[in-house]
Subunit: 209 residues, 2 copies
């Protein structure tokens, strides 16, 4: 297996953290997104979506999208499950993970891609071009304020995203918080519970992945 | 179990189609989204996200978000799996399903919610208010044109979203196509393969759910 990766980007980092948690090591290939390598003819052939992360299996077949890659790895390395240990837990992990993707990762991406001059006409991660919408960048920042407040309330009563069970939803939330620095958003001072959770995840060896 | 539902809305329909495919029957409670019933004190108590679908278990615990609900049902009713039958298939289903949610369901929602006078300050499905952004409505329509073209290319070489295996990704894509009518987008005449796939899904009894 080979992971097409870009060290600086948040979505590949989610896969790397997931692998670190499970002790999985694979060859990685860096695709320099800032230099537009994802649009090269060679890379487009293996991923028409023109994005990383991408997992290439030994037989050449490819899996794109963070959760799909992690789900595959969970299937072939079932020890230390991170997607839930029973149907209800799996559902709660999926629910929180999806929420954080929509209101977290996507909000930061919208704030960043709709304001950075480097992303002119590249407002969406997609093989298609889309113009920037400045109001969307502003809205992303407001969504992050709301997310911080919602997470603060959540962690007042919960150790992790899903009770006392560390899962992919925590990885997504943690990477979101780190990614938010790209748009100069950090955990507000009045969010002690969110900060406690974040410090706890930072202490895990996988946080360095 | 009890499904909080709204007959007209696309996301509850995805759950109903999923249940129909698996032969699952549960009590449903209609929450009239057009009348704002999702913001009532009573409903907010069981779903702080103020949205349907919501699945309430017999012990009172609740699962929100379409995929989370379907994943739970897949776990307790494993016959006729719709999330994939092995790790690779599960990954491919997740990958396609996620893509269609982002570029399909979300694109129609953005086109609709950012243009309809009824959704002033309700541009995002969320307990928080967000102002409409007219450019986002326009962008949603362009995304749908690109989605139709991408799906046409996909179905030229594939019976379903994932090879010859009918899955939740097909349900999501089918409901997206139907939802697109809300913003007056229908399958273009030059998309014969997409139309063939859509007719095939329309013929399934679950399409009436």
């Amino acid at each position: 297996m080979k992971l097409y990766d870009y060290k600086q980007a948040p979505n590949p980092r989610r896969v790397r953290m997931f692998m670190a948690e499970k002790g999985i090591e694979v060859e990685t290939v860096q695709i320099d997104l800032m230099q537009g390598e994802q649009f090269s003819e060679n890379f487009r052939k293996i991923n028409p979506l023109c994005e990383v992360p991408l997992l290439q299996l030994d037989d050449g077949r490819c899996i794109s999208q963070v959760n799909a890659i992690c789900l595959y790895l969970e299937g072939i390395y079932p020890d230390k499950p991170l997607f839930g240990r029973n149907p209800l837990e799996r559902a709660l992990v999926e629910s929180h993970n999806h929420q954080i993707q929509l209101n977290g990762i996507l909000a930061v991406a919208e704030a960043f891609r709709n304001s950075s001059p480097k992303f002119k006409n590249r407002a969406i991660t997609s093989p298609h071009n889309y113009a920037q919408i400045p109001e969307l960048a502003e809205r992303g920042l407001v969504q992050l304020d709301n997310l911080f407040a919602d997470l603060e309330a959540h962690f007042a009563n919960s150790q992790y995203m899903v009770g006392d069970y560390f899962s992919v939803a925590d990885i997504t939330a943690f990477v979101t918080i780190k990614f938010a620095k790209w748009v100069e958003k950090t955990i507000p001072e009045n969010c002690a519970n969110l900060q406690r959770w974040c410090d706890q995840i930072s202490d895990r060896p996988s946080a360095k992945a």
